[in-house]
């Protein structure tokens, strides 16, 4: 964007010092309500080195516990994934668990469905969540409304799944009745047909977690530098123009964090899907974690399960690396 495209009320660079002389300083009533782009230096918390032993001792219990419940199982997972694991016997099987994976259509489908599921959830949550935040921002009832929106997030995903299963039910579910009355759906429940089951489970995730995106966006909106918005408006930019060129770029970092967090949660939690469809009908909603759950804890093929779990974990760790980068960029630098 060039400067020429914005009609400017301020004289060119040369005129600036002169203008400075006449500027009237205005101190707003509450400075906090007008965040600006200024950076505040933070106090240092780092101890000058020399006494590390004490700190390492304090750290040890947590690290040991964490090692026992994460590193030790991680190696067990690799070990299990290379063996046939059954109650009472563990047999080496020449990488069979891994070699079978590329030919396992349900495994491949699991990945594709996971991507499809996450993409649908994220798209709806971002669009609805951001719009809701913009609509709520500065509204008279913002506090009350936000508190109301929090409710689904506090619910156990399993309970949420149960309630929605009840609502979707083909014979006595209120939402099924509503969808039928609106002519959107036939007599078959949304979860009962392979074409719509995915939409059914996505809607539950959207119901439960869109408010998180709204909250994150609201927090981001409060940090949009008001001085930039005002300067732009004085220059004659429209509200929409302002939103696109000032607000959105400022929201981008928090939105990225929100997207990553939700994306990883879609990998992590399958409680509601287990209740709603259990992966069915057929395999229409059998996203990879659900498939993994089935292989490991329904058929108790723990070796195979470990191989699938290992691939899933590797992908998550890579995603986590990206997320940590995003986090670090999102936070103001110290010192």
């Amino acid at each position: 964007m060039t400067n020429a495209s914005i009609p400017s009320a301020v004289p060119s660079q040369k005129g600036r010092p002169a203008l400075e002389l006449f500027r009237v300083r205005h101190i707003p009533d509450s400075v906090e309500s007008r965040p600006s782009s200024a950076v505040v230096a933070e106090p240092t918390s780092i101890n000058p080195p020399g006494s590390k032993r004490y700190y390492f001792l304090l750290m040890a219990p947590a690290i040991l516990v964490l090692a026992f419940i994460s590193i030790y199982p991680f190696f067990w997972m690799i070990y299990m994934s290379l063996h046939d694991v059954d109650i009472g016997k563990i047999e080496w099987n020449n990488f069979a668990n891994y070699l079978k994976l590329p030919n396992d259509t349900r495994y491949i489908m699991g990945w594709l469905l996971l991507i499809q599921y996450s993409a649908m959830c994220l798209f709806l949550q971002i669009v609805i969540g951001v719009f809701l935040a913009v609509a709520l921002n500065g509204s008279r009832f913002e506090k009350v409304l936000v508190t109301t929106l929090l409710m689904p997030m506090m619910m156990a995903p399993l309970v949420a799944g149960m309630v929605w299963y009840f609502l979707y039910n083909g014979t006595f579910g209120w939402y099924h009745w509503l969808l039928q009355s609106l002519g959107i759906l036939g007599p078959k429940s949304i979860l009962a047909s392979a074409n719509t089951a995915m939409i059914g489970i996505v809607l539950v995730d959207v119901w439960q977690w869109t408010p998180l995106i709204t909250l994150i966006t609201l927090a981001g909106l409060k940090r949009v530098p008001q001085d930039q918005l005002e300067a732009n408006m004085v220059d004659g930019a429209s509200a929409i123009r302002n939103f696109v060129s000032v607000t959105l770029p400022n929201l981008y970092p928090v939105l990225l964090i929100a997207i990553m967090l939700r994306f990883m949660d879609n990998f992590r939690f399958i409680d509601s899907i287990l209740v709603l469809t259990g992966g069915g009908p057929g395999n229409a909603t059998k996203i990879l974690p659900v498939y993994l759950f089935e292989v490991s804890f329904k058929f108790f093929k723990l070796g195979r399960g470990a191989a699938i779990a290992f691939t899933l974990l590797i992908v998550t760790i890579i995603l986590g690396m990206i997320l940590v980068r995003v986090f670090e960029r999102g936070q103001p630098k110290k010192g």
Binding site: P43, S45, M162, F166, A219, A239, L302
Partner: protein
């Protein structure tokens, strides 16, 4: 807003936007509250009343939703005959226990991490955070095997340890941010006055206490709402509320009234806690990346 000097002009577009936004918000609030409302109402309905539904397209028939005689028999049934008091106790112990373990160990670790620098600190930190982000199902496969060998499956200590897999890294990650904001000078001053290191550490705890309190609550919330660990690691002897709720679903004759009542019992305490720590909720749910 006396100091506001920017005038926002009302244009046709902005008026239209405001109307649309108001309608959208209203619609969204209804969509959010309705399932919870239906859950709540259905938990007070007798079985047949919960199944009452108007004919398709009969919009006036919605009133049958409100035509029922409230009964608390589902709640009575849950606690008197279905052992929900035990499950409630299990939930409390498992969630509370893991929260306390996580926050005590976590605050010690976070404090140290925030005070010293060493080689590999970044890698250590990444390992801690990736533990938290690992998919629960994937972690559970080896953990189940290990816990079975140690005979921890179906016991409360096993469940507490299982919940610690995601609560401890969370506590470390979040609390480090808190300790980072406490300047070292405070401890230094304490130690100049003759306090030992441990006393100095204890002296700054009150400064971070509100935050620590809030994150104990968040850890409880995460553990309380978990189902997967409860279903596999806790199966048998350490059934928690979500696992017990799930087991109310029988192939025949699903007791929806009881299920909804169990849902209310599971949900209400957490909604209350959520309100209590409202201020820290966004920070907690975004792993400290976003602050309100």
């Amino acid at each position: 807003m006396a100091s506001r000097e920017v005038i926002e002009y009302e244009t046709g577009v902005s008026k239209a936007f405001n109307v649309f936004a108001a309608v959208f918000i209203a619609f969204y609030v209804v969509w959010t509250v309705l399932p919870i409302f239906i859950m709540f109402m259905s938990s007070f309905k007798d079985l047949l009343e919960a199944f009452k539904l108007p004919e398709v397209g009969d919009w006036a028939g919605v009133k049958v939703f409100f035509e029922f005689t409230p009964t608390t028999k589902h709640y009575y049934e849950l606690f008197a005959n279905l052992g929900f008091s035990t499950y409630l106790f299990n939930s409390l112990v498992a969630a509370g226990g893991s929260a306390v373990v996580s926050v005590v160990l976590g605050s010690m670790c976070a404090y140290s991490l925030s005070r010293i620098d060493f080689r590999g600190k970044k890698d250590l930190f990444f390992w801690i955070i990736s533990t938290r982000m690992a998919p629960v199902v994937a972690v559970m496969v080896p953990l189940y095997w290990i816990f079975r060998e140690l005979e921890l499956v179906g016991t409360l200590p096993g469940l507490i340890l299982a919940y610690t897999t995601f609560n401890l890294p969370f506590a470390i990650w979040i609390l480090k941010g808190f300790f980072d904001n406490v300047p070292y000078a405070i401890e230094e001053a304490q130690m100049v006055d003759g306090a030992t290191r441990l006393q100095a550490f204890r002296a700054i705890l009150p400064l971070v206490a509100p935050g620590i309190g809030a994150f104990v609550v968040l850890c409880i919330l995460f553990a309380w709402n978990d189902y997967l660990f409860a279903a596999i690691i806790g199966s048998g002897g350490a059934k928690t509320l979500p696992a017990a709720t799930r087991e109310l679903v029988q192939p025949q004759n699903i007791q929806w009234g009881q299920i909804m009542a169990a849902g209310v019992v599971t949900t209400l305490p957490m909604m209350f806690l959520g309100l209590v720590i409202r201020k820290y909720l966004v920070t907690g749910l975004t792993m400290g990346a976003v602050k309100e």
